[in-house]
């Protein structure tokens, strides 16, 4: 809660927290609730699945009670057509134009399929969606997605759920350096230092789930992530010292 406005905007949506959470992987809703509160998040993903007579998982009621906005995703979709239909169903069910577009190429890597992702972005933008698009850490593709009209690009740090951190920081910097839309580091975050690094590299926000929900103590890790994102953002704004090969005394010479 700084005195100055440092909010993040895409489309008509404005966020004060730069940590976007996922809800997957939590062992139960009370664990998830404590983690979400500790994270300070204002926007959180949900997946779309077939409903049954049981009435869903209760995650919607939880997020509404906590006043956290919904970011439906298209996880599980393999083609642009599937992703577009899933997004349209999410908009109808949840009354939001926001969508986290993800089109996975295969189950082992869960890497985004770039061609289907680009096509789905074009179609969803034409249909009036605010598209936050999960993408490879590919600086060229990020530009193409921006040209297609996405509201934010979400490059991965590493494959979903791996906790491997940011495998190609230079690519993330390249994406940030040319992006005209917010860049949200999505996937691969393992621990707080990864989230801080994402922000230090210039990302506008971080999206993570597994690192918190599958941590031994999700609530404590959520708090760590909240602080890491804030710290990384501050450090980026503060302007770090250049890295030097040789030592430079920080005390006056005798």
């Amino acid at each position: 809660m700084g005195a100055t406005d440092d909010s993040l905007s895409f489309g008509e949506h404005k966020l004060d927290s730069r940590l976007i959470m996922g809800t997957g992987g939590a062992t139960n809703l009370s664990v998830l609730e404590r983690a979400l509160v500790a994270s300070g998040t204002e926007l959180t993903t949900v997946a779309m699945r077939r409903a049954d007579a049981e009435g869903g998982s209760g995650v919607l009621e939880l997020l509404r009670r906590l006043g956290i906005r919904l970011l439906p995703n298209t996880a599980g979709c393999r083609t642009a057509a599937e992703a577009v239909l899933t997004a349209q169903l999410a908009r109808e069910a949840l009354e939001t134009d926001l969508v986290k577009l993800e089109v996975h190429a295969d189950d082992r890597t869960l890497l985004p399929d770039p061609l289907e992702t680009l096509e789905a972005t074009e179609r969803l933008v034409a249909d009036g969606f605010t598209v936050l698009v999960y993408t490879n850490d590919d600086p060229v593709l990020a530009l193409r997605l921006e040209e297609a009209g996405c509201a934010a690009v979400m490059p991965l740090g590493a494959p979903i759920g791996t906790g491997l951190g940011i495998r190609n920081p230079h690519n993330i910097e390249l994406i940030v350096s040319r992006a005209g839309v917010p860049v949200i580091l999505d996937a691969g975050i393992g621990t707080a230092s990864d989230a801080a690094l994402a922000m230090e590299l210039g990302c506008d926000a971080v999206l993570l789930a597994t690192a918190v929900t599958r941590a031994e103590d999700p609530e404590r890790m959520a708090s760590a992530m909240r602080h890491a994102v804030t710290a990384g953002r501050l450090a980026r704004g503060a302007g770090r010292v250049p890295q030097r090969f040789w030592a430079q005394a920080s005390s006056p010479p005798r």
Binding site: R49, R50, A53, G55, L70, A75, A93, A209
Partner: protein
């Protein structure tokens, strides 16, 4: 008539509407959306949309994920 709902074939009276099907299968109406043969049926159209024999209906809701 037979209609495929969420992947499962079920029997419904002829000329049932989407609204009647949703009620019949007992799925809570809040926070769900319906696709008929791969096209979204807006909530406002549920009572007017008649489902044909052999149609494919998908009813989706939000769950933990991402």
């Amino acid at each position: 008539m037979q209609v495929q709902i969420n992947g499962e074939w079920r029997d419904f009276p002829d000329d049932s509407t989407v609204a009647q099907l949703v009620r019949e299968v007992g799925i809570p109406e809040r926070g769900v959306a319906v696709a008929l043969n791969g096209e979204v049926v807006r909530r406002g159209q549920w009572t007017e949309t008649v489902v044909a024999r052999g149609a494919r209906i998908d009813i989706l809701t939000a769950v933990q994920g991402g």
